[in-house]
């Protein structure tokens, strides 16, 4: 791999705003500024996190010019069913694109990135969106729980306007049992920590990076920064040191802030590194999982990435007040109502409504301009029949027309905030609001729209869009 024409064209991340202070896990006292981890909200999963990162990465890039979506995760909400296909529809990408799930390993994002680079090299001009997201479920109060966190990152791989080239990649493979989930495991399982670190993590990371150094004729000093996966903060420091990196040449691993976000771990750090990098920088980037993969990432141009940086996401936080609230959000505490009960949305209804519900597509009357959501056959404005063009609502701002707080509807975090919103193109949508508190609500509050899980009825995720207060800065939402 020496052709530098293929690489990262755009990038962005998403860290869910919800934080679990680690002290809550064992009933300790929460100290302001103490260690915490990012956790997906009750209405988020790997798919919604990935979509949020994808939105941030794509910005105003023409979505019709995306040729593929590769989705890397170990925690797809589906055992069988493609998460990439869902994400592609939610991102309003075309329906003739290549979609692939890279799953089953922590290292899946490395495979997805290299596959995307290879696809672009095979056919220059191609653009592939690579999403990496994980919402891994550790057993409550297990040793793993404090280290794991949830996050997502996205990279648009292409050959035009490349910001950073992936010039080389070296993989090594290992079948060590360090972390895994078997057929019947709900929770992530792990072997003894010291074994995992010594023979799983350190051996493989050192091997992959050393081989990359040998092949490229490089040493640590040739790199501006090391972007390394690690299972915990201590192992991260040890690995960086063994490779010859220290101080600000080590991209901060965000333990105590985000946590180990699995397949999205190295991708998230790479987004952080790229946001700070300057043209000419070189990033040693190492992924881990069933072996390791080291990449040489050469920064060609200064860039700022998505409109919301990693720093923005780290600043925007909403701390949970109880461990019980976390357990509720994961359906881990018994309740009167089975939140996964019922049949859920009939497949046929989902099939007919998926452009409204997943793509968040409205329609504009070509006769009179009235915008309708959801789609209908006869215009409210001029009564014309079937004279509509599709319009995307998901990337437009809106405002709250009126609202209510529903304390009756079952929800892990009652009340459900619900409002009629007007999108800036005139469409009206009746949607729930997320990442908000009741005291923020007022008529005309500016909002944006985010893809979220609405419920788990039928034992599967059912998705729709929600509104979220559009705050100018990373305002803390309490």
């Amino acid at each position: 791999m020496s052709d530098s024409a293929a690489g990262i064209v755009s990038y962005g991340c998403y860290v869910p705003p919800t934080r679990l202070p680690l002290a809550l896990i064992h009933g300790g006292r929460v100290v302001e500024g103490g260690p915490e981890k990012a956790v997906a909200g009750f209405d988020e999963d790997a798919i919604t996190l990935a979509v949020a990162a994808g939105v941030n990465c794509l910005g105003s890039i023409d979505r019709e010019r995306i040729d593929g979506l590769y989705f890397a995760t170990t925690s797809s909400p589906f055992r069988e069913k493609q998460a990439a296909a869902f994400a592609a529809r939610a991102l309003d990408l075309g329906d003739e694109i290549a979609t692939i799930d890279f799953s089953g390993t922590l290292r899946s994002a490395a495979a997805a990135l290299i596959a995307a680079v290879n696809a672009v090299r095979a056919e220059p001009g191609t653009q592939i969106l690579v999403l990496a997201a994980d919402v891994r479920l550790p057993a409550p109060r297990s040793a793993l729980e404090a280290n794991l966190g949830d996050a997502a990152a996205a990279f648009l791989i292409g050959s035009d306007n490349v910001v950073a080239a992936i010039t080389d990649s070296v993989a090594c493979v290992d079948d060590v049992y360090d972390v895994w989930r078997g057929e019947d495991d709900n929770y992530l399982r792990a072997w003894e920590d010291r074994f995992n670190v010594t023979h799983g993590y350190q051996e493989n990371v050192q091997r992959a990076c050393t081989r990359l150094f040998e092949r490229s004729g490089t040493r640590a000093e040739h790199y501006s920064r090391a972007v390394l996966y690690a299972p915990d903060a201590r192992s991260h420091g040890a690995a960086a040191k063994a490779l010859g990196f220290s101080g600000d040449k080590v991209q901060a691993p965000l333990f105590g802030q985000v946590g180990n976000c699995g397949a999205a771990f190295t991708p998230l750090l790479l987004v952080g590194a790229l946001e700070q990098a300057a043209a000419g920088d070189r990033l040693l980037t190492c992924f881990y999982g069933d072996g390791a993969q080291a990449m040489d990432v050469c920064v060609l141009r200064d860039s700022s990435g998505g409109s919301r940086s990693l720093a923005w996401h780290l600043q925007r936080r909403r701390a949970l007040r109880s461990y019980d609230a976390y357990l509720k959000s994961r359906h881990l505490n018994p309740s009167e109502h089975d939140p996964r009960g019922g049949d859920g949305v009939p497949a046929t209804v989902h099939f007919r409504e998926r452009d409204s519900d997943v793509r968040f597509q409205a329609q504009r009357c070509t006769a009179c301009g009235t915008v309708h959501f959801p789609a209908c056959r006869v215009c409210y404005g001029c009564y014309a029949k079937d004279q509509f063009e599709a319009v995307r609502l998901s990337d437009r701002p809106g405002r709250v027309l009126s609202y209510s707080f529903d304390y009756f509807f079952p929800c892990p975090e009652p009340p459900v905030i619900v409002g009629m919103c007007e999108v800036d193109n005139g469409a009206r949508v009746y949607v729930q609001m997320t990442d908000a508190s009741t005291d923020m609500l007022r008529c005309d509050l500016p909002v944006e729209f985010v893809f979220r899980k609405i419920h788990d009825a039928g034992k599967r995720p059912n998705y729709f869009w929600k509104s979220r207060p559009l705050t100018a800065s990373a305002e803390v939402m309490e």
């Binding site: 409504e353 027309l401 009756f408 509807f409 009746y430 609405i454």
Partner: protein
Amino acid sequence: MTGSIRGKAAVVGVGCCKFGENWQQGPEDMIVDAAFEAYADAGIDEPQKQIDAVFCGSVYPSRGPAEVAESLKLFDRPVSLVQNYCATGTDAFRYAVAAVAAGMHDTVLVVGFDKPKDRGVSGPSVHLNTARGLPMTPAGWFSLCCARYFETFGAGREELAKIAVKNHHNGTLAPKSMLKKEISVEEALNGRMISWPFTLYDCAAQSDGAAAAIITRRDLARNFRADPVSVLGVSIALSANPQTDPSFDFLSWKPTVAAAKDIYAQAGITDPRAQIDLAQVHDCFTMTELLTYEDLGFIEKGAAKEHIDSGTFALDGELPVNTDGGLKTFGHPTGATGVRMIYENVLQLQGRAEGRQVKGATVALSHNLGGAPQTCGLAILGID
């Protein structure tokens, strides 16, 4: 064009079962209680011969119109079931009046009923079979206007509480109401929150009930009783769902405005506040009643706060509303409610409303609003 019903039909008998959590009564018991009271009220002793057709209103029937036919053993004649959200009772009444006015039948029976308390839940059922439109609760739908209205016109939760207090008081005077308990504004404000700004006290209860009315040709009415009540107008209007309507303003319910325009033309009403003596309006939630004062033209848009404060709509006020305590104290067995309002208005017009009697009342209006909400049913009755 739409015609007028005025002068063509009259109500000659009404009946109503006791509304409540009627654990010991099935739909049949309630239907029989209401219908036989109406028969007696109309002096009908041979319903098999005297009732030509039956119009039923029910939103949750288990067997459709047969539920009424089999309960009353009224067979071998037209028996139909009408459904129109919470305006079902009023719409069944409208079909009955129209059928008589058209000359299809001389004398017909209207029966509204519902039995929601066999479902095992105290509030509405929650079904997660859609991704869009959730939470799908009536309180959530009807509360959607509050924030915008409050910000625009300065009313608030206190005005809503005063409506609940008024209706709770009136309900203590109605023998067939479910709740007979005076409440205070403070109690109402501190109730359990259901859907902001509605506490428990802003919401109509779930109850079981049935009500009946006998309609006949105006020219035959005095064969039944000396003081028949004339139907001055009936109307129903279905408007766009506020959740999809591109021009909804969250200050007014469109179906009420549309139906009022139609029925006032039928009944010759040009100044509703002066010409209407009392009204039963759909207080499924207190805010519904508040907006209805304005949507029916009783007062100017935005003026509800001052009129609630001054008692315009109290039992001893200028235009008493929900003289029997409304849905607040009767509960809301959906199909029964509109017919229950007819029952109360007939008693009022005939001077039979006892402790809650509005003196000298000659024109009374009833109002249902249902759906998200999308549909409004209105009836105006009068007595000479």
